[in-house]
């Protein structure tokens, strides 16, 4: 590899050609501050508009200061990162940014995790000259079912725009206006609700300030917990246990399943269940649907559409409902685990414990913001009573635990309640990209071939590449699996399906890069993709430790079918566990 030698702050270094000054400096242990820059290396996502100008440094022979995030090292370059000129420039630019930013840090939802606040602290800003006559940007606040936009706090880092357009290809957000009045938002500065937004929350996940935050549903949950007439049931998604610890200073990738369960019980939830149970249930329904379609397809039935697409991800469902409404019969009709759980909890379980569904409140803890929207969908309620009442994110749960004075680090591990808390390893891996399809294959293989799998780890389905594919041998029948995470990658596969070019039998799609572990409701990764990788590793560790790792072997699932549902795909299953899709664009246009 061709390399270049240069000097940064009097230290020599040799780096591969094409390396930026920022990265070269990092190798030398020189941490140049950045604000708009974000590099999720493993996910192939990079944001460097060169907009904030915080990362500037002096390059000998150059007229002006160089943005180190986007200036490549050249042979013989002499770089200084902390001269008086650089420090003054950085401070002045920071003062500019702060002069157009509200100072209500104390009551900002991002306080403590705000990158702008950290930068102000790091640079030791103590005053903002001219603030008394400085005009500030003013925009109205917008609250959608999942996301709150407070554009006054936008610093034009463009991360959300990049996520929404380049990564997710959702196109709900764009920079608008120019100059001082420029900001990022939906068309016509409308509410996000009337846009193509899928509520995937990736904009929130990357926003460095309080401009984009989630809607907080903790107060409603607290109210339900304090209502003696309500039985409050909680379910926790697989990805939550792999990330919650980060909020309490634990290493990324620390599994806190038992501590989380204990904390939830301490918070006062009557039943602490696991969404993983519903994930196993999903496999039964979705797997059955896959095998049904596949066998009909193999028999030449033209009405059996192949590939089948997974449908557990609500961001993904919102996406194809908006952009591919003509293909709404392609994805599986199986509800997401969250909604399956809600439906089963408020029917089977409510009956079992002898209470009316109206007296039960189902709360879900999700790594996701789209789940907030999903549980509010009309079709997921009975007579106006939703199957899942409130969905709160991993971050909201962490805040709730802190407010309740619970020291999660020192709690003893506890187990989930039975029966909806029992799950297999297949349910756990739903949290990482490729996990759903791997779980499905474990079950589908055994049912399709009637043989036992001797190798449960389909490592060929794992990884962080945006689009992956593998062909599995189902006893002579090749099963072609496609996996996409990130909606932009999903779009590629979907376009192939649309134009009849797809060769896949089944495709798994997760809206968020990395799958649910990289969800919009997770602790903020602040641009460190190592964190996402560590969470994935944790998920697979949990899977390995489980005694049962195939959904169809979950005894409580078997029992549920025996006692209540009959068999997968039965009429009752269809009624409770399956759904249908809409043309969402039409719906939005009518509503608007």
């Amino acid at each position: 590899m061709e390399t270049v030698k240069l000097t940064i702050d009097n230290k020599e270094i040799e780096v591969p050609r094409g390396t930026t000054i920022l990265k070269a400096a990092k190798e030398l242990g020189i941490e140049i501050p950045t604000l708009c820059y974000m590099d999720l290396h493993d996910l192939n996502i990079e944001n460097k508009p060169g907009g904030c100008r915080i990362c500037v440094a002096e390059v000998q022979g150059r007229r002006n200061l160089a943005p180190t995030c986007s200036t490549k090292c050249e042979p013989g370059m002499v770089v200084k990162t902390h001269t008086a000129r650089v420090l003054n420039a950085r401070r002045t630019v920071m003062e500019f940014i702060l002069s157009d930013h509200p100072k209500d840090c104390l009551i900002c939802p991002k306080s403590g995790t705000c990158e702008l606040q950290d930068m102000a602290h790091r640079l030791g800003i103590r005053e903002i000259p001219g603030q008394e006559f400085a005009e500030m940007s003013t925009y109205r606040q917008d609250t959608s079912p999942s996301i709150i936009r407070e554009l006054n706090k936008c610093i034009m880092c463009r991360r959300c725009e990049m996520m929404c357009n380049d990564v997710q290809t959702v196109g709900a957000l764009s920079a608008f206006n120019r100059g001082f009045t420029a900001a990022v938002g939906p068309a016509f500065e409308q509410n996000l609700e009337y846009s193509s937004c899928t509520y995937c929350g990736q904009c929130v996940a990357v926003c460095p300030t309080g401009a984009l935050t989630e809607v907080n549903h903790v107060p409603q949950v607290l109210k339900a917990l304090n209502d003696p007439t309500k039985t409050v049931v909680v379910q926790t998604a697989p990805a939550v246990r792999a990330a919650l610890g980060e909020e309490f200073g634990m290493e990324p990738g620390t599994l806190v399943t038992g501590k989380m369960t204990a904390a939830l019980r301490a918070l006062g939830f009557d039943y602490v269940f696991d969404t993983d149970f519903a994930a196993d249930l999903t496999i039964m329904e979705e797997g059955t649907e896959l095998l049904d379609r596949l066998s009909r397809h193999l028999k030449g039935d033209k009405s059996a559409r192949i590939p089948i697409l997974t449908s557990c991800c609500p961001g993904w469902v919102n996406f194809f409902e908006y952009y591919y409404p003509d293909m709404k019969d392609v994805p599986s009709t199986a509800k997401s685990p969250q909604q399956m759980f809600g439906a089963v909890a408020k029917s089977y379980f409510a009956e079992k414990i002898g209470i009316n569904r109206k007296d039960m409140v189902v709360v879900s803890i999700m790594p996701c913001l789209a789940k907030k929207y999903e549980c509010q969908r009309d079709e997921f309620s009975v007579d106006g009573n939703p199957d899942v009442d409130y969905s709160i994110s991993t971050r909201e749960l962490a805040a709730f635990i802190r407010q309740a004075n619970i020291d999660i680090r020192n709690l003893h591990d506890e187990d989930f309640d039975s029966p909806l808390g029992e799950s297999t390893g297949a349910g756990v891996i739903f949290g990482a990209t490729g996990g759903v399809i791997e779980a499905a294959c474990r079950t589908a293989y055994e049912i399709f071939t009637g043989k036992k799998l001797d190798r449960l780890d389909f490592t060929e389905l794992r990884g962080m590449e945006g689009v992956r594919s593998a062909t599995l041998d189902f006893n002579g029948t090749p099963i072609k699996i496609g996996i996409a995470h990130g909606l932009g990658n999903a779009r590629k596969l979907l376009d192939d399906v649309k134009h009849g070019r797809s060769e896949f039998t089944a495709i798994e799609v997760m809206a968020c890069p990395g799958g649910c572990i990289g969800g919009g409701g997770q602790p903020l990764h602040h641009g460190d993709s190592e964190i996402i990788k560590a969470r994935a590793a944790a998920i697979y560790t949990e899977d390995r430790k489980k005694p049962l790792r195939k959904s169809h072997e979950n005894p409580f699932i078997i029992k549920l079918y025996e006692e209540y549902l009959g068999k997968p795909g039965s009429e009752k299953s269809h009624h409770l566990l399956h759904t249908h899709y809409f043309d969402r664009k039409d719906k939005i246009l009518v509503k608007k």
Binding site: N165, G171, S174, A175, F176, R178, A187, F188, E189, S195
Partner: protein, 160 residues
């Protein structure tokens, strides 16, 4: 946000469709398409942008981003006689600001607004390149050169 809501007629939609197809429905031609539509409709209401989004396959947020970036594009219909005062440097140093003030006073509106009867709208623009005639005022297609504040009443009278 645009406060004006309009219902597009079928021929309007057809016009947008034709304009887009004239440019091969190529998203790279967005600005040319917007020019064509603004020339036809006089402005670019949200509904028009939504239809363009459909045919050019560009998210409507992006179109809005482009429309609000360029000062030539407007989402507000102009008055019957749009008045533009050149605020280029040459006109400015020759007193364009005073002329603008006079128009504001006479019409009782601010820059970017239209009179109640929608007869006049007022805007300022940057250099029409007729610096020899500074200060310059445009009313519709007609150019007035070397305008003094005292001339304003007379100019408006022409359109009564």
């Amino acid at each position: 946000m645009s406060s004006i809501k309009i219902e597009l007629r079928k021929e309007d939609v057809d016009f947008i469709k034709e304009t887009c197809s004239k440019f091969n429905n190529d998203s790279q031609e967005l600005i040319n398409v917007l020019h064509g539509c603004q020339e036809h409709f006089g402005y670019l209401p949200a509904e028009v942008q939504e239809v363009i989004s459909e045919y050019l396959n560009v998210p409507v947020a992006k179109i809005y981003g482009v429309v609000t970036f360029y000062s030539f594009f407007t989402m507000i219909p102009k008055g019957k006689h749009p008045i533009s005062i050149c605020m280029g440097t040459a006109c400015y140093v020759r007193g364009a600001e005073k002329v603008l003030e006079e128009f504001k006073k006479e019409l009782g509106i601010k820059v970017g607004e239209s009179t109640k009867d929608n007869k006049f709208s007022l805007s300022s623009l940057r250099c029409v390149g007729a610096c020899g005639l500074a200060p310059v005022v445009l009313v519709g297609d007609k150019t007035y050169g070397r305008v003094a504040p005292d001339d304003v009443k007379g100019i408006l009278k022409e359109y009564e």
